[in-house]
């Protein structure tokens, strides 16, 4: 079982404002968004920065909500989400437990996204959206990760922490320029 302390050791640093460990649902996402928007420094940000920040928060949390498998061990719906400010950037750290046999596919997807420049990311997003529309799919099918990559500054930094019983804790670290 992953413990709160292990998560802290993995992700927490002194600049982290807060973190959450538990299940994510729509009400919680709405509360997180309100929490970010109620910060006095948020309203001072340029409009495009505010939009990108909210977009990254929403897509990250909904990615967790949609991709955390229903499991009873090591711990049901274990997720963590944090934010922090540092030298002109807003940082998000978040993660969820996933099945280890799905790690390689996700790693390949992330490496592919991280290798793309903004123009290619836009093309990938539009192509994936067309595929999703044509197939009538109800899932985001990687669109969320592409949207996150387009919102943040630099690559999506990620880690996989093997756990017991065929599960892995997956975490991402994102930075957004506030300028």
């Amino acid at each position: 079982m992953i413990t709160e302390n292990e998560v802290k050791e993995l992700l927490l640093d002194p600049q982290t404002d807060w973190f959450y460990l538990g299940e994510i649902d729509e009400d919680l996402i709405s509360s997180f968004v309100s929490l970010v928007e109620s910060r006095p420094d948020f309203l001072k940000l340029p409009r495009p920065s505010r939009r990108r920040l909210i977009s990254a928060v929403v897509e990250s949390l909904q990615n967790i909500q949609n991709n955390t498998p229903v499991i009873t061990t090591p711990q049901a719906g274990s997720v963590v989400f944090m934010q922090r400010y540092q030298s002109g950037e807003f940082g998000l750290l978040c993660g969820n437990i996933m099945r280890t046999n799905e790690v390689d596919a996700l790693r390949q997807k992330l490496d592919h996204i991280n290798a793309a420049d903004p123009i290619l990311l836009r093309e990938m997003y539009m192509k994936q959206m067309e595929v999703s529309l044509d197939s009538g799919s109800r899932t985001n099918a990687g669109l969320g990760l592409l949207e996150i990559a387009r919102a943040v500054t630099g690559p999506i930094k990620y880690k996989f922490l093997p756990l017991e019983d065929g599960h892995t804790f997956f975490s991402v670290e994102l930075f957004l320029s506030l300028n």
Partner: protein, 130 residues
Amino acid sequence: MEKLHIHHTKTTPAIVFDADKGEFKITGRSIPADATIFYSPADKWAEKFTAVFKGDTFTIDIMLDHLNTGSVRAILTILTRFIRMKPRGKTVNVNWHYEQEDEDIRDKGEEMSLILDHPFTFISFKGSEM
């Protein structure tokens, strides 16, 4: 045809589809966890409406400050229904409103326009107008 009026919430937009008044609007914030479910009533309404619409011109106004990927897909699905009226000689206008400084939202509209292969009209407004 009975009008559709969905009130906005913290995570979902207001939707007004009123055939009698010729008013079709999606406004607010669209970040629902399951956009397919949220937009389902609007999609069904659009399906029925497009089968019986007798007019020459249809115009929809979309003014959103945030929309997640699921919402983009759901709105594209609904717009596709309206745009399919074109071969029947209908003119379909999509007005995409965006805050003056928010080029990202304008870009989102441009992407959706390209995916649909249908021109949007882009209308900027000042922040206080939304």
